[in-house]
């Protein structure tokens, strides 16, 4: 029921997969196992994927929660324009990045997880979602304070002269008035 935004889940998955790829790559390089060059590639690929996926996109409905300190990443990712806006590009990019991870054991898991993330991105792209940057809202929500509040009037408002204002005993009817706001406790 309701519209599910697959892209948000795909983003979480891709970020986690980037970290898994990075960890697998570090294990592979540290152990100096055979074909450790693939592990070195995985470290670089993992870092790239994490940087790309760190800024969260804006939700269609409702408030978007930013990740801590994501503003500078948002600016970088936004500068690539349609390449990062479009989820088809991201889906194929992740699918391409994950393939070399399948060659050594240390990075196989990162490859599979990134592959799943790429599939979810494809699903999101087919449903027509795209990435919108979360930019800070301008502070124009408050009504601007009128200038006159800073310069109160120097003179009382104009009134008729005192003789006319004084209440006369013979004109009691004219002196009465009705309170516009009812007096209650």
């Amino acid at each position: 029921m309701g519209k599910i935004e697959w892209a948000m889940w795909a983003n979480e998955q891709a970020l986690a997969s980037g970290l898994i790829l990075l960890t697998g790559g570090i294990v592979g390089v540290a152990g100096q196992f055979r074909d450790w060059q693939f592990a070195a590639y995985a470290v670089a690929a993992g870092v790239f994927v994490c940087l790309l996926e760190y800024p969260r996109g804006k939700r269609n409905k409702g408030t978007s929660v930013e990740r801590t300190g994501q503003y500078c990443f948002t600016v970088c990712v936004k500068s690539f324009g349609p390449l990062t806006r479009n989820y088809y590009v991201r889906a194929f990019l992740h699918a391409a990045i994950c393939v070399p991870g399948a060659f050594i054991l240390a990075t196989v898991l990162g490859c599979v997880c990134l592959g799943i993330a790429s599939l979810i991105y494809l699903a999101a792209a087919i449903r027509g979602e795209h990435w919108e940057p979360i930019l800070p809202r301008e502070e124009s929500a408050r009504k601007p304070v009128a200038e006159s509040i800073k310069r109160p009037p120097q003179n009382p408002p104009p009134r008729p002269p005192a003789e006319i204002r004084r209440k006369r005993a013979e004109d009691l009817e004219g002196a009465a008035y009705v309170n516009p706001i009812p007096i209650t406790e």
Binding site: E12, Q13, G24, V27, F33, V108
Partner: protein, 559 residues
């Protein structure tokens, strides 16, 4: 606001004690298993082949066993409701710990993820070592079939390998869908992926059946490191742990190995059966039909629903979970009860605010009769209300309002619902509760929201004045939107009119006032509202109180 040790211990002490206990048990288990494999005689040869990877992977596996066992227990909500409601757990401090069950579940879940990463990384190193350091001397402890076998093949052709990969994938799906952001925006994804836990546990029990790691059974007859017929001196190892018992002695017989007996099922099967039994119990209990008696529309998009169900008993502060198949077959939404069944009145009620898709559709189905002019729509024979299933009631921290001598209840907007139920209960009788003074602060954005419970508040106020205890209930209503002149103009709501304040409450002053008039007492603070308010109140409860009053913070939380 200086942090006060006494206040901090009163509020946070119990939680942190349990956390330290849990960390201690995890650390002890990790250390014990690590040492068993590092210097144990049964694993001497295996350790020589695999090195530290063996110890780390087995130690993290034992921690994973413990956490997979513990992670299910906090989610047994019916059990906790029973413990809370019947006061089987007699100490209020212990009952407050039950409030933190979801936090404990998250902590165990995070521990599972972290130790899975450690476990998998260690096993990756093990796979490569199995392949590179294939042992011709002791062929039984090998998992690889020949020296230099591709480690990926080792993983894909053994039961622990394949099940391990599946477990990581399921854990990956569950973990990525559980962040706060996902739960708030796409709850369905979170719920459906989290229900994969049953597949996770089944595969987990298969994972340990592979019998890949073997231990030596005849340590006395063949002390590890002993001289064998075709050797002249013990093998030189660089590690300290290689101090084998049998260095220099000759072996009586060949080493014999047996696979480790799987112990995961010992840890996991108990809680798993318990949790499945609880789900089954909840399903059976929620399958009996519920009759909708009244639907009332209130201002600011709130609908009151009164229902009838056989054998339904609830305490004030508890919540129920609604499922309406006409709206969505699988979605369940929690709502706090605003009216509990009593001897005089058998119906129970909820107030629901129309905010998202589900509530919009549900409201449409309830109010679909356009010909009805009045706001109250009584049950008419031909009227077809949608079928509704109610699961619950479940316990919540707000049940403790009556167990303090002085309570402060702070409600934000629709968060007033748990306290409304408590006020209804006070209307029936207050003498048998421990509560002697209730401070009730209700903050709303719009004035119209107060009309949801204006009748109830005025009725309670009158009753307490009649019984000559006017200071039992101290009411403060705040309208946080300060535009325009706002006032409650109805004559019958006069008590509310004078207690209406424009603007946000000043919590520090409120706490000081409550502290001065209730010196050296323990005040229960209950908050149900936006995060900003609850964080401020929590901080104030932990800070220094010069009047000797202790404020205990209890928070209601959803999602």
């Amino acid at each position: 606001m200086a942090l006060s040790l006494q206040s901090w211990i009163a509020n946070e002490g119990g939680k942190h004690f349990v956390l330290l206990l849990w960390l201690g048990v995890n650390t002890w288990l990790f250390a014990r298993t690590f040492l068993c494999y590092y210097s144990g005689q049964h694993y001497y040869y295996l350790h020589k082949m695999l090195g530290l990877g063996l110890c780390i992977s087995r130690a993290s596996a034992s921690v994973l066993n413990l956490n997979c066992c513990l992670v299910l227990l906090p989610m047994c909500r019916s059990l906790f409701t029973y413990l809370r409601g019947t006061h089987r757990v007699t100490s209020r401090k212990a009952r407050r710990l039950l409030d933190k069950s979801k936090t404990f579940h998250v902590a165990c879940g995070v521990a599972i993820c972290v130790f899975s990463v450690v476990h998998v990384s260690a096993h990756l190193a093990n796979m490569v070592n199995f392949s590179v350091r294939y042992s011709e001397d002791f062929p039984l402890i090998n998992v690889a079939r020949y020296r230099g076998e591709d480690p990926r093949l080792i993983v894909l052709t053994t039961v622990p390998g394949i099940t391990g990969i599946l477990l990581v994938l399921i854990l990956f799906l569950m973990f990525t869908a559980s962040s706060y952001c996902m739960r708030v925006s796409n709850y369905e994804i979170f719920w459906y992926t989290h229900n994969l836990f049953i597949v996770f546990y089944v595969i987990l029990m298969l994972h340990v059946l592979g019998g890949a790691l073997r231990y030596q059974t005849n340590v006395e007859a063949h002390p590890p490191g002993c001289l064998r017929a075709n050797q002249s001196s013990p093998e030189q190892t660089g590690e300290e742990s290689g101090q084998a018992v049998g260095d220099g002695r000759s072996c009586k017989e060949e080493a014999q190995f047996q696979p480790n007996s799987p112990e995961t099922w010992l840890w996991v099967s108990g809680p798993l059966c318990f949790y499945c039994a609880e789900r089954l119990y909840r399903y059976i209990r929620s399958n009996s039909p519920v009759t909708i008696v009244t639907v009332v529309r209130h201002p600011c998009d709130v609908i009151e629903l009164r229902m009838l169900k056989k054998n339904f008993k609830a305490h004030p502060g508890q919540y129920v979970v609604l499922n309406c198949p006409n709206v969505s077959s699988f979605e369940n939404h929690p709502f706090t009860l605003t009216g509990c069944p009593t001897e005089k009145k058998e119906t129970f009620g909820i107030h629901l605010r129309v905010v998202g898709d589900w509530t919009e559709r549900f409201a449409e189905l309830l109010l679909c009769d356009p010909r009805a002019q009045s706001e109250v729509l009584p049950m008419v024979p031909q009227r077809k209300y949608p079928k509704l299933y109610v699961d619950g009631p479940f316990g919540s921290p707000s049940e403790e309002v009556f167990n303090y001598e002085v309570s402060l209840c702070v409600a934000g907007g629709i968060g007033v619902t748990p306290f409304a139920c408590a006020l209804h209960t006070l209307l029936d009788g207050w003498r048998h509760f421990r509560l002697r003074r209730l401070y009730f602060v209700w903050v709303c954005r719009e004035l119209q929201s107060f009309y949801w419970f204006a009748e109830l508040l005025c009725a309670l106020h009158h009753k307490l004045w009649q019984e000559n205890i006017p200071d039992y209930l101290n009411l403060q209503l705040y309208v946080s939107q300060t535009d325009g002149l706002q006032n409650i103009s109805e004559e019958r709501y006069m008590p509310l009119r004078s207690r209406l304040l424009i603007g946000r409450p000043r919590w520090k002053l409120l706490f000081e006032e409550i502290g001065k008039t209730n010196k050296h007492k323990r005040v229960g603070v209950f908050c149900c509202g936006p995060k900003g308010i609850s964080q401020t109140l929590h901080r104030l409860c932990n800070s220094d109180r010069y009047s000797g009053t202790t404020f205990e913070f209890n928070k209601e939380s959803f999602s």
